[in-house]
């Protein structure tokens, strides 16, 4: 993330700037104290442990310092810096804390400063004896050439991140606020929509008026009891009447009803048919109505029956 961001060279005499996105910072030696040591340690974390003791007596004790360690050829480079002072300075120059992605030290790019970089009309940044220093321009001579500071000065590794900085942030503050506003708007819409989703008032009013008219039916148990009782009767009685209607359709010229019995469980009708054609027709009608037919002992007599 950090490497794709703009790299700004920060020095005491810099102009105030305006930035929209988070940036990487390269500090001039004006903001840190450097020591070069050759120590028999293998890893940076081991070197970092001894950093405070190396700077003892060199730093203002009132300031709170942090330390960075990196290797340069055979030597260890120790850097002490006061992050509070640095961020306070950056803030005055229009670089707020949350816009700082990563902080690099000019020493980390010492090889790039072999040709001086002009800081102001009077000062330049240059590497002398492998150490990046701020020098008066006049000391470099009239014929000195300068290079422009750009992203190519970015070290391949190193740098420090600071608490509250924008180094790990995937989003800029503006993007975050825009997204948060959209989400909050949607959230508010959902809440309002949910609260406004009213119940079916017309149905409730209708039910209330029915209860007022039939107060006994307010209880669900009562309703269900009545429904169970009368629905059973309704179904059975409709079956009886349907059966009788179907049987009456079997009465035609050549087919005479001689007997009909209907009770609570079954029905039975006996037909006397004038010929086999009539008998066949009655059978077909009975089959269509899903009734059973049996041929009686008497010739041309047919019994149609069924359960209710």
């Amino acid at each position: 993330m950090g490497k794709s961001k703009k790299l700004l060279l920060v020095h005491r005499a810099m102009e105030k700037i305006s930035i929209d996105e988070s940036v990487n910072i390269m500090l001039s030696p004006q903001f840190y104290t450097l020591k070069r040591e050759s120590l028999p340690v293998k890893y940076a974390y081991q070197a970092k442990k001894i950093a405070p003791s190396l700077f003892e007596g060199l730093l203002d004790e009132q300031d709170t310092h942090e330390y960075a360690v990196f290797k340069e050829e055979e030597d260890w480079i120790f850097v002490a810096y006061d992050i509070e002072n640095i961020t306070a300075f950056l803030s005055t120059k229009g670089i707020p804390l949350e816009k700082i992605a990563k902080i690099y030290f000019a020493q980390e790019s010492a090889k790039h400063f072999k040709t001086p970089v002009l800081l102001t009309e009077k000062e330049a940044l240059v590497t002398l004896d492998n150490t990046v220093v701020v020098m008066p321009r006049a000391a470099l001579g009239e014929e000195a050439t300068f290079v422009k500071f750009d992203e190519s000065f970015m070290p391949n590794k190193g740098g420090v991140t600071i608490k509250g900085g924008g180094s790990s942030s995937l989003l800029t503050q503006q993007q975050a606020y825009a997204l948060a506003t959209i989400f909050l708007l949607f959230g508010a819409m959902f809440i309002v929509e949910g609260a406004r989703y009213g119940q079916a008032k017309a149905d409730t009013a209708k039910l209330q008026s029915l209860y007022e008219e039939y107060p006994a039916l307010e209880s669900g148990y009562t309703r269900q009891g009545i429904i169970d009782k009368y629905r059973k009767i309704d179904i059975k009685e409709r079956k009886k009447r349907d059966a009788i209607k179907h049987i009456s359709k079997m009465i035609f010229k050549g087919s005479t009803l001689t007997n009909l019995t209907v009770n609570d469980k079954t029905f039975k009708a006996r037909f006397l048919c004038a010929n086999t054609t009539a008998k066949k027709q009655v059978k077909q009608l009975a089959k269509k109505s899903q009734f059973n037919t049996t041929t009686d002992k008497a010739k041309n007599s047919l019994v149609v029956e069924g359960a209710l």
């Binding site: 790990s168 949607f186 959230g187 819409m189 809440i191 119940q199 079916a200 009368y230 009803l257």
Partner: protein, 133 residues
């Protein structure tokens, strides 16, 4: 890891969670309302069904309507016994037309048919009818 490093993401996450909560609220509220509307509709349907069923099968005028069966044939052909909410009627010597009229009337009466016997005797019919209401 300091939360301040990710404060932008945290702001977005917080807003997103609020939106999610809003959505959940709406979803649950709509569901609850729909459930309530279903219950109300079901109650209305039940009340209507009770009213309709009672109108047919618990009609207080059934007793009077049943009396019409006595007019379906001349008095000499009828033996009539009506007690409380029960009827036992016997019709003898009905012609086909009278039988038709009688059965049509019986089918249209909202009574529980306990027994209906129709027997052909020569050209005429005998009917035994028992019902209750």
């Amino acid at each position: 890891m300091s939360w301040q490093r990710y404060q932008n993401e945290l702001i977005v996450l917080g807003a997103f969670l609020i939106m999610l909560a809003g959505y959940m609220y709406k979803h649950s509220h709509v569901n609850a309302q729909a459930q309530q509307a279903n219950q109300v509709q079901q109650s209305i349907n039940e009340v209507k069904e009770v009213i309709a069923l009672k109108k047919i099968w618990a009609d207080k005028k059934i007793a009077k309507k049943v009396d019409a069966l006595q007019q379906m044939a001349p008095g000499s052909k009828i033996r009539w016994s009506k007690q409380k909410q029960k009827l036992e009627a016997t019709y003898t010597g009905l012609n086909a037309q009278e039988l038709n009229k009688l059965t049509t009337k019986i089918l249209n009466l909202p009574v529980v048919i306990e027994q209906l016997d129709v027997k052909k005797n020569g050209l005429l019919y005998n009917v035994e009818f028992k019902c209750k209401w």
